[in-house]
């Protein structure tokens, strides 16, 4: 427990935590304010009415979460990799192990602190995103009367929890890669590479790629509607199946990171 609390304090004081949150909020602001400012003009063009729907509550609640998870997935990979990699790069894991601390325990407590930070970050970003979407709606002249729609509001905690799980899985992947690479930079690089490689591969074999970690994370939160290509629905995991797949990846990433750390020869 001491390590968990200390890790939480470290992450709160870490500039990368705030930069990641700020970046998410700034990008959300850019998206929703730009949408709000241009939605009216776009709505007059063929198919442009969909743009207004993005800002229309209660659907905007889900849209905000969708934007955060789309954006936040990559940021979560980078954040997880940065935290795990820096333990090796700065030699702080070495210092803890030399004091007799359990390697796997230290690793797990560090990741538990990341999960808590992700939950807080997701919540803060979501509140900011909803506020920005409401401002965007006002700019576009779209009514915000749907904000109080009870059914959607009741579903929000579950959706946020699912989103948190998806971010946690992606952070765990970055965490594991950086642990194996023993480097912040290598972890971030490989994490980003894997993220884009999977996105690219989904163009060709979505039937397989849907089970890969980043696509599965993207399917955890039901966003409504269905993706299609050429009139054919694209194979995307059912949200509940996606939860199971994502949990498997999360646990597997931590087990791999733990085994590696337990057996590693720590130098430098």
């Amino acid at each position: 427990m001491r390590i968990f609390v200390a890790s939480l304090r470290k992450l709160v004081r870490r500039p990368a935590s705030w930069v990641t949150l700020l970046l998410t909020v700034v990008l959300l602001a850019l998206v929703f304010l730009a949408l709000g400012a241009t939605a009216r003009q776009l709505a007059d063009e063929p198919g442009g009415e969909d743009v207004l729907l993005l800002l229309t509550f209660p659907d905007a609640y889900t849209n905000v979460l969708g934007f955060i998870l789309g954006l936040g997935g990559l940021l979560a990979v980078i954040y997880g990799a940065a935290v795990a990699g820096s333990e090796w790069t700065w030699g702080t894991l070495k210092a803890a192990v030399a004091r007799g601390e359990g390697r796997t325990w230290y690793l797990l407590m560090t990741f538990a602190a990341i999960l808590v930070l992700l939950a807080a970050g997701l919540l803060l970003a979501y509140v900011a995103g909803v506020a920005l979407a409401a401002i965007g709606a006002l700019l576009a002249g779209v009514s915000t009367s749907g904000m109080g729609e009870l059914d959607t509001l009741r579903r929000l905690p579950e959706q946020l929890a699912r989103g948190w799980l998806a971010l946690g899985e992606q952070a765990a992947l970055g965490f594991a890669v950086a642990t194996i690479a023993r480097s912040q930079l290598a972890g971030v690089g490989v994490g980003i590479g894997a993220y884009f490689a999977e996105s690219f591969a989904s163009i060709f074999r979505l039937d397989i790629v849907q089970y890969l970690p980043f696509n599965a994370a993207g399917a955890v939160v039901p966003v409504g509607g269905s993706a299609s290509a050429g009139g054919q629905p694209l194979p995307i995991l059912d949200p509940n199946t996606a939860v199971v797949v994502v949990l498997v990846y999360l646990v597997a990433a931590l087990v791999v990171a733990g085994l590696f750390t337990e057996r590693a020869e720590i130098g430098g």
Binding site: A98, R99, G268
Partner: protein, 318 residues
């Protein structure tokens, strides 16, 4: 291994690929002393330190820490050991105090007030609220020493603790380590700075090519292993070596490397350096310099076959 020892290793071996880092290292470190662990670069000092702190594991051999076996599964033995291995490790975005608090959350339970006590001891109270990224090398080193002392350890393992310290910092560190040994704790220090070790250590172990080549109390070593060094023209080395071997005995003369002029080391009572000079002069060999001493440098160079340590202090001219 004896339980009166604070630290003992037996037949410790470690390879990194084809490179042999340790080749059957046997150490015996008595309790309550400052033990100077000396050796040239690549001799295996840091590898030994890493094994002793559980960062890596030996291929063969055994380790006993504070009277009990230490290996995989014995990490809690390190609760009574403090260490500073290679460069001190800290989070750059945290202050000195926050770093010590974060570290205190690992390993043995540490009282909260201990952090401030240690900052005071290492002279960092005024900079305790400064981020470590703004610390000088010497300040980081002092914070590293504070971190090693966090759990009030019975055994302290320090790898090159004087790195980056200014002269006042070195004196302060030496006094602190001597005081710790006087209070019954054991301090195991690896260093290249032979003069520093000579002033600080009670017992030394010299390691070369992964093996212990000499171990004993510093007083005994300095009393029995004095040396005289003579500098002659390169073309006079052979003749001088023969003469000096007749004086000091076979196997007691060594050609020392690293100079344009030839240095010859003779294991001989340093108080009788004039005798060496006389023998050479009578044969028409005039030494351009003679140095005599019973300091660690001569012992170190002789035992490690002349592999230099970093910045050895000069010997006293005879």
């Amino acid at each position: 291994m004896s339980s009166t020892l604070a630290l003992a290793t037996q037949g410790l071996a470690k390879r990194f690929g084809p490179q042999v880092a340790l080749d059957g290292l046997d150490l015996s470190v008595p309790s309550g002393v400052v033990y100077g662990f000396l050796g040239p670069n690549g001799a295996g000092k840091t590898t030994t330190m890493r094994i002793l702190t559980g960062l890596i594991h030996a291929d063969a051999g055994s380790v006993e820490l504070l009277g009990a076996p230490f290996g995989r599964g014995h990490r809690r033995r390190l609760f009574e050991v403090g260490s500073l291995i290679e460069a001190p490790s800290f989070y750059p975005f945290l202050t000195g105090r926050e770093n010590l608090r974060a570290l205190a959350a690992t390993g043995a339970p540490t009282p909260g007030r201990r952090v401030d006590e240690l900052l005071e001891i290492v002279g960092l109270t005024d900079r305790a609220r400064t981020k470590v990224s703004g610390y000088s090398l010497g300040m980081k080193q002092r914070l590293g020493i504070a971190a090693a002392l966090l759990s009030d350890p019975r055994l302290l393992l320090l790898d090159e603790p004087a790195n980056g310290l200014d002269p006042a910092g070195i004196v302060g560190m030496r006094d602190t380590l001597r005081a710790l040994a006087a209070s019954g704790k054991t301090v195991f220090v690896s260093s290249h700075i032979l003069g520093e070790v000579q002033q600080m250590a009670d017992v030394i172990g010299i390691v070369a090519r992964g093996r212990l080549v000499r171990e004993g109390s510093i007083a005994t070593l300095l009393g029995t292993e004095g040396a005289v060094r003579v500098r002659v023209e390169p073309d006079q080395v052979v003749a001088a070596t023969g003469l000096l071997e007749r004086l000091a005995g076979e196997g007691s003369v060594t050609r020392l490397p690293g100079e344009e002029m030839a240095w010859i080391g003779v294991r001989h009572d340093p108080n009788r350096a004039a005798e060496v000079n006389r023998v050479l002069a009578e044969a028409g060999i005039y030494a351009s310099r003679i140095e005599a001493g019973s300091d660690l440098e001569s012992i170190f160079l002789e035992l490690t076959a002349g592999e230099p340590a970093v910045s050895p202090p000069p010997m006293t001219p005879a």
